[in-house]
């Protein structure tokens, strides 16, 4: 087990942030819903490896991400299709398109595995960015835990507003998945994005709730809940989104 701890730093990291990170990090090595622990760690390792990919560097500088031909520099543990998913999400997320996603599907990508892999990739991105920001080395990936994925697809999942299937908040009320929207009948699209694999949604939104804030706190300007103000939080959030060319 990798122990997430920041006690040696001069800057105090809140306990709830550490707990959310520990939960998300531990899950990387465990059997997921559609990926085994071995596969999840392979995705996590490839997400880290992607930063050094020459094809991705050349593609990012090109006017179109499809203008450069070649192969990704990868670790060899995953299929090319999965490597393409991971590298593009890590290195050029702002230019992902519906056509690109459809191409993966046409080539055999399984939707549920794609969404779970997104959850793994963004967990690695989140924690690696966190340690980099604090001037620390990245955390070692956790050990693989044995076991089989559950392969439980929520009955109400269907293709609606996103490229991937999602769970509509109104349709999960009273079901085992209603907690992912806190029992509400509506939810922001971002909160629905990973809902095809509810465990990924729960884990990632643990980070969201504690590193950013709860949805109900976003517009409660009377109460500052962090060591930086709402305005400062949103300035940083907006800047990072813009640097990634994200329109959401």
């Amino acid at each position: 087990m990798t122990k997430i701890m920041y006690e040696d730093l001069a800057w105090p990291v809140r306990d709830e942030v550490i707990a959310a990170q520990q939960y998300a990090w531990d899950r990387l090595g465990r059997p997921g819903t559609w990926l085994s622990g071995v596969e999840r760690i392979a995705v996590a390792a490839e997400a880290r490896n992607a930063a050094g990919c020459q094809l991705c560097r050349d593609s990012k500088e090109a006017l179109s991400p499809y203008a450069v031909e070649g192969s990704h520099d990868h670790l060899g543990a995953l299929a090319e299709l999965e490597v393409e998913q991971i590298h593009r999400i890590v290195n050029d997320p702002g230019r992902l398109s519906r056509a690109w996603y459809k191409g993966l599907g046409d080539a055999g990508m399984v939707e549920e595995r794609y969404v779970e892999s997104v959850g793994v990739i963004v967990t690695v991105v989140a924690l690696d960015t966190f340690t980099r920001g604090l001037g620390m080395a990245p955390w070692p990936l956790p050990q693989v835990e044995a076991g089989a994925p559950s392969e439980l697809r929520p009955a109400a999942a269907r293709r609606q507003m996103a490229w991937v299937s999602t769970l509509s908040p109104g349709e999960v009320l009273g079901t085992a998945e209603s907690d992912i929207y806190d029992g509400a009948a509506t939810a922001a699209h971002i909160k629905q994005a990973l809902s095809l694999v509810p465990e990924e949604q729960r884990s990632f939104f643990g980070l969201v709730d504690h590193q950013y804030m709860l949805g109900v706190q976003m517009f409660d300007f009377e109460k500052e809940i962090r060591a930086i103000t709402h305005a400062q939080i949103e300035l940083v959030a907006g800047r990072v989104s813009a640097l990634n060319q994200c329109v959401y």
């Binding site: 997320p93 702002g94 989140a126 924690l127 920001g133 991937v164 976003m218 060591a227 305005a231």
Partner: protein
């Protein structure tokens, strides 16, 4: 950025949202803070974490800790790292911007260049 604008309106402050999308054209050049307290240091830090200059990152980190304090640095890192991840959730799953949010932000999205991002057309911003 709706929340950024709303927070400023709540405080009765004028802010310049264009600093969010301003070109990152040099070390330490955050393009001003847009009217947000310590905005320049915060933008500089976000640029540095997502950049590749280790000396600049160390300097930007020291600047935040020195002006806002250690707890603020930790919380700022939390926001930077969370948003560096959440944009990838949004962009890889193809969720569209909510209609109401798109309508409410249409004025500044166009003005500060968000509608020029590659994904704007198919994700409901353009």
């Amino acid at each position: 950025m709706l929340a950024l604008r709303a927070s400023a309106q709540y405080d009765g402050r004028e802010i310049d949202l264009s600093v969010v999308t301003a070109a990152d054209d040099g070390i330490g050049d955050g393009g001003g803070g847009g009217g947000i307290a310590n905005g320049e240091e915060l933008i500089r830090f976000a640029n540095a974490v997502l950049g590749h200059d280790e000396a600049e990152l160390a300097a930007a980190r020291t600047a935040i800790a020195g002006t806002l304090g250690g707890a603020a640095l930790a919380d700022t890192v939390g926001v930077v790292s969370l948003f560096n991840a959440i944009v990838r959730v949004a962009d890889s799953t193809g969720i569209p911007v909510e209609e109401q949010r798109a309508a409410d932000s249409a004025d500044f999205r166009a003005a500060i260049g968000v509608d020029d991002f590659a994904a704007a057309g198919e994700k409901g911003s353009g």
